[in-house]
């Protein structure tokens, strides 16, 4: 009896959260900048995933600003994490005969039908940030976004530098804070890191513990506290995002150790608070995952509209930052 009631509660809660979450979020206006005079401005229909994180908000702002700057007529819609919202937004763009459709897919699969409609209407489609799986590669022109696997590789490369700089000798015992289980960034960042580790550091590097911190500060803090108990000899932390690293730093300090010295920390993303922690010497290096892909997207849209051939995957411009660059880079961090 208890179990059933509890289960019901859980089920209703989950269903309702999913179903009603849309009502809670504020509605984005779907109007963009007005078209510039003279030659007819390009009309771009853009469907965003939602506004689930600071990274995503920065991404949205970047797209809106870049469109304004380029003088495009941007039709923006927020899918609030739901594929059906995104599909209906794309159908609307097709009906409105926009020049180019760009969207950041909520999920990987289930896009064939709507993308075929776009193709039939001869409207080119550009993906941003995330990719899709389709049966027919001609359904989208290009993807503008980050290479998560490469971010993992870069994290391993920068860890090499960090180790040399710190003059580290002996075994490298790594604790890994993973992102949300099943999320593409979490899977691919772990994969890229492991690839370099297995290929070049098989003998001296070892991931001794690895657990998900759900990309959150609270998660990173709690998991790291447990890691420090079960594996007190950990000397390197690899966090899949800055927020988890920031949480972990607090646990490391509570354990009486010095983050950045006793435990070397490498993380991915490059949010502002991450840079603040790095400038304080608590994070050793950050691999950037750049949400500010607006300007690159606008370039691609122009090329696609003009029929210029573009690469299948246009990777976002990203940098790697060591501690000594943190202070200089800090003021330019927008998110």
């Amino acid at each position: 009896m208890l179990n059933r009631r509890n289960f019901l509660t859980a089920a209703v809660g989950v269903a309702a959260a999913g179903g009603l979450a849309a009502c809670a979020k504020k509605d984005d206006s779907s109007t963009g900048s007005t078209s510039a005079g003279g030659t007819k401005a390009i009309t771009l229909g853009f469907s965003q995933v939602g506004s689930e994180s600071g990274w995503r908000s920065a991404n949205t702002t970047s797209v809106k600003d870049a469109a304004k700057k380029a003088g495009y007529n941007l039709k923006f819609s927020d899918a609030q994490q739901k594929q059906e919202n995104q599909i209906s937004a794309i159908r609307n763009y097709i009906a409105q005969k926009v020049d180019v459709i760009a969207f950041s897919p909520v999920v990987v699969t289930g896009w064939d039908a709507v993308l075929k409609e776009a193709k039939a209407a001869k409207i080119p489609v550009v993906l941003t940030d995330r990719s899709v799986e389709t049966s027919d590669d001609s359904l989208y022109v290009t993807l503008v976004g980050s290479d998560f696997t490469d971010e993992g590789r870069r994290a391993a490369r920068i860890l090499e530098k960090v180790l040399t700089k710190a003059g580290h000798k002996g075994a490298v015992k790594i604790a890994q804070l993973e992102g949300t289980t099943g999320a593409a960034p979490a899977i691919e960042r772990a994969k890229g890191f492991k690839e370099i580790m297995d290929a070049e550091h098989k003998d001296d590097w070892k991931i001794v513990v690895s657990q998900t911190g759900d990309f959150t500060r609270a998660g990173g803090k709690q998991v790291m506290a447990a890691f420090l108990q079960s594996n007190p000899d950990v000397n390197v932390l690899f966090a899949h995002n800055d927020d988890m690293a920031i949480g972990a730093i607090q646990s490391i300090e509570a354990a009486g150790k010095k983050p950045g010295k006793d435990i070397l920390i490498v993380s991915i993303d490059g949010v502002k608070d991450g840079f603040v922690a790095m400038s304080e010497g608590k994070i050793n290096a950050i691999v950037e995952c750049n949400p500010l892909l607006g300007p690159q997207l606008m370039d691609v849209v122009k090329k696609v509209k003009d029929g210029v051939a573009v690469e299948r995957w246009i990777k976002t411009k990203e940098g790697d930052f060591m501690q000594d660059q943190a202070k200089a880079a800090l003021p330019s961090r927008k998110y």
Binding site: T9, S57, E253
Partner: protein, 368 residues
């Protein structure tokens, strides 16, 4: 087998105490850690405060204990409060955004005002829940669902969808600071639990709450203002959630409207159930709930320390929870251990089914 019957009857009395199974599970879970972390129980000084796994469990478990204690009273009236997670997020968001606007973030007056503001918002949420349930007669699950969903939106609105980081030493004390070498949150939890126990067990309030949960209409007819009691418990539950919200945001010195307190309502309900409070209302055990919350936190820590692969976290957690719930069920115990448990110490085998029937009718008698 050779046990004298006196020991056996004492054992039987012990196993029938309402806190026996929750405590047994907690001890078992703690012991599971020892082979993986040999110094699991060791507590040492680090950086001027006590440090160790047990300290972490209490520190990270504090918000859950608070939320679960509030939830216990709501469930005792036959209700349920799904909005606590959202209230956690709103409180943290309000307090942190207020503090971040101050020129001196460490000023005590500003921090107290921010906390008061957050808690006020929490209590207003509770008042709204209580109003819908008691005055409008809306099912508690639906009434509180409104704030569960909308509240998180409000929190996101307050934080603008961003994580607000603050740097305020007085605020950090509540959820992440130490006092007398112990985490300060332990004192907050102890105070809230003590006040709750005194109010419900040393005054008639507890009885009234149970009466309303047992039969709201009958209690109204005997002169209990059942609606008022209901509104009060929802407000109390929200207040507890609010304090938990301050703690969670203080623990990381940041307000995260998207993730703070996410799904904590489900953990809280689970803690209440593990603690032996009936979801049907009418009976509750605050002590059991505290143990239940510690069981859940210990389980989480155990998953991290024994190295369960990430993908199997939830399955592992579910398996343990199922086992705990089954162990708590007198019917299940009678079926599985029936022969041994029932026959031992008692000459009549018929005692076992009779026992079971009795405990089933009144699942968890309350004494704490």
């Amino acid at each position: 087998m050779t046990t004298p019957s006196t020991t056996s009857s004492r054992w039987r009395a012990l196993t029938r105490h309402h806190l026996f199974w929750p405590v047994a599970v907690l001890v078992l879970l703690l012991l599971v850690n020892v082979p993986f972390t040999p110094d699991f129980f060791s507590i040492k000084m680090a950086d001027g405060h006590l440090y160790g796994s047990l300290v972490s469990i209490v520190l990270f478990g504090s918000p859950l204990i608070l939320v679960a204690v509030g939830m216990t009273l709501v469930i005792a009236t036959g209700g349920i409060d799904l909005s606590v997670g959202a209230v956690v997020a709103i409180t943290g968001a309000l307090a942190c955004s207020y503090i971040s606007d101050q020129s001196d973030q460490s000023a005590l007056s500003g921090v107290l005002l921010a906390m008061g503001l957050g808690l006020l918002a929490a209590v207003v949420c509770g008042l709204w829940n209580g109003f819908l349930v008691a005055r409008m007669g809306i099912q508690p699950i639906i009434a509180t669902l409104i704030i569960m969903v909308a509240g998180r939106g409000v929190a996101q609105l307050i934080t603008d969808g961003q994580i607000i980081t603050i740097n305020s030493s007085p605020y950090k004390l509540i959820g992440g600071g130490y006092w007398l070498t112990l985490p300060f949150s332990i004192f907050v939890v102890a105070a809230v639990v003590a006040v709750t126990v005194v109010l419900t067990r040393r005054t008639a309030l507890g009885l009234l709450v149970e009466a309303v949960g047992g039969n709201a209409e009958a209690s109204r007819l005997v002169g209990i203002r059942s609606r008022r009691i209901k509104i009060m418990v929802y407000m109390f539950c929200a207040l507890c959630a609010g304090i938990a919200g301050l703690m969670i945001s203080s623990n990381t010195s940041a307000a995260d409207g998207n993730n703070a307190g996410l799904w904590i309502e489900l953990d809280a309900i689970l803690a209440v159930v593990i603690g032996g409070t009936s979801l049907l209302g009418g009976r509750f055990s605050v002590g059991g709930t505290v143990i239940g919350a510690l069981v859940i936190q210990t389980l989480t820590t155990t998953i991290y320390t024994i190295g369960v692969p990430t993908q199997t976290n939830l399955v592992f957690k579910a398996a343990v929870v199922i086992a705990v719930c089954l162990m708590q069920s007198p019917k299940f115990r009678a079926k599985v251990f029936g022969a041994r448990f029932g026959a031992k110490g008692s000459t009549t085998p018929a005692a076992a089914p009779a026992d079971t029937a009795a405990t089933e009718a009144a699942p968890k008698m309350e004494v704490s």
